[in-house]
Amino acid sequence: MTDTIDDIGISTTGERRAVVATPGTTPEQDWVIVARGLKREYDMGGEIVRALQGVDLAIRKNEYVAIMGPSGSGKSTLMNLIGCLDSPNGGEYWLNGMLVSAMSDDQLARVRNREIGFVFQTFNLLPRATALQNVELPLVYAGIPADERKRRATAALDSVQLGPRLHHRPNELSGGQRQRVAIARALVNRPSILLADEPTGNLDSTTSQEIMRVFEELSSQGQTVVMVTHEPDIAAHARRVVVLRDGLVESDERRARFVDRVGIQHSTTKVAHD
């Protein structure tokens, strides 16, 4: 197996095994995400659903990882845990050297605010607020003063080529533009990870390509990106693909190998829908 230019900076299987294998120890600094034996169960009216049954996952700074899996595989649950929206029933989750799995609700809110940049399938912009106000939102909760907020939000929107659309409301923007506003909002607090949940799920193929290019660019600038998707051709944009099945990691491999295995033709240049 030969490394392509794409694979530079990707953690090796051996490194990952090593960092996951020692429960209770704080991972080294360049590991952004370390999950050891992560478990999550739900009580659905007396029936216990085991959504995650012991997931090991390690992601290093600057990696671009896609998490795939069919529905019911546990990928949404994993993404909620990675995004600090939920706490595991078992195992441990280290985010940027902090043991998140032991935190209270308010501490989790703070971590979400500082460390995670969310991008959602349905964009989740506030409909009555302008692009600028939407992007300012995380800074409001970070307690940043108004001038500084405005400056940083404007810069973030500029970086996704929405400089001329600062004062447009979401209903005055196209789907792709809305998602770029959401990306600007995710990045404005300079988070450790950009966490995207089916970011192209509500977009047509051309716009999906556009958004994927934005992600690639961010990744090339050093941003750690974690993307949850059920579409293999979207997952193939990432440099590393983790596949879940029945609450466990089924495979965790480089793009090249994933593409070979799944059989996607033009992963980086063209996404063929239908």
Binding site: N80, G83, L85, D86, D105, D106, A109, R110, R112, N113, R114, F118, F120, T122, N124, L126, R128, A129, L137, P138, V140, Y141, A142, G143, R185, N189
Partner: protein, 415 residues
Amino acid sequence: MNPLEAVRLALDTIRTQKLKSAFTLMGVCIGVMFLIAVVSIVNGMGVYLKDDLVGKLIAINSFELRHRPNINMGDTDEATWREYQRRQRLRDHEVPAVVDVLPQGTRYAVIADNNLTMSSQYGGGPRRVQVVGVEGQYFEIKSLEVTEGRLFSPQEYVLGSPVVVIGPDVVERLFPNLNPIDREVRINGLPYRVIGVTESQGSAFGISFDNVAYVPLQAPARRYFNASPSMIDAVMIQSPSEAELTETMERVRQVMRVQHQLRPGQKDDFALQTADSALEFWNKLQGYLVLAGVALPAFGLVVGAIVIMNIMLVAVAERTSEIGLRKALGARRRDVLAQFLVEASTLGAVGAACGVALGVLLAIIMRTVTPLPTVVAPWSVVVGVLVGAGVGIISGVYPASRASRLDPITALRQE
């Protein structure tokens, strides 16, 4: 998130949902409006009674020694009234002892009065006029001046000369288009010479204070004032300051008790009437009226509170995904709680502000189109706004705490 941010957010939400917010505000608005209006009516009545009515009847820092109070605002019960009837009248000969105990600088006047018939040969028929026999510094105490002619000279007081100073209404009726000075007028048939005309003293409740004539107490008309010419109606006493007033009243009380040979423990059989004592009943009544004025609109405010709570619950349900998003972006429970609490209390406060504006407007309209002399009480404005905001906070607590407890994952999933 700082509180200012929360208020800005709340105002934004209200601005973007104008119609819904307007309906939400209405309950509080109407409640506060009536609070302001009702209080301003009651307050206006009070100010009117104090300044215009009693203020005109009883001069500043003064009191009247009478055998019984002559200003009764309906609080005298039957037994008291009968006791009043049995009291002996004040007499001439009791006055010197009272004057003796007055501190230096104190003014006093002796009064006897009655409604008598006045007529003149120049026109108008006979007219009932309040004729006041005065002695002492009556005009100084009342700060009453003449617009034409002059007041009585010391000799006229002493001699009881048949001279009269008349009010503007009497001039109008008995001397149409004439200068009344030095002309003759008859009081119950007795001839008097007009020497002066007083300035206007206004009116209260549509009753003019200008249908009045003043004569020296010792003048011939005295026989018509009371059953006996030696009876007087009041001794009017004015202290130079409020502080001295109490002391003077006490001295007068003691000297009167001695003259009436009252034993310790026996009640006074005379009255010392001040502006405050005349207004005592009104002050009591005003308390009840204000209470009613506050209690009735309170029902409106309860309705307003329920409306706000309802709207806020709807808002929480409608904005579930917004709440989820805010939590995902780092809002803590208390941030969400504060957001909805501030929103509810801002709604309440804005509603109250509308209510204050409308209430003041209503008071002004009532003052112009009805005879009700409304005066807006500043405290009612403050209370109105505080109550409005309070209603907002109280009705916002439950919806806000529901919002703050939403699970971000479930909330985000909701479309």
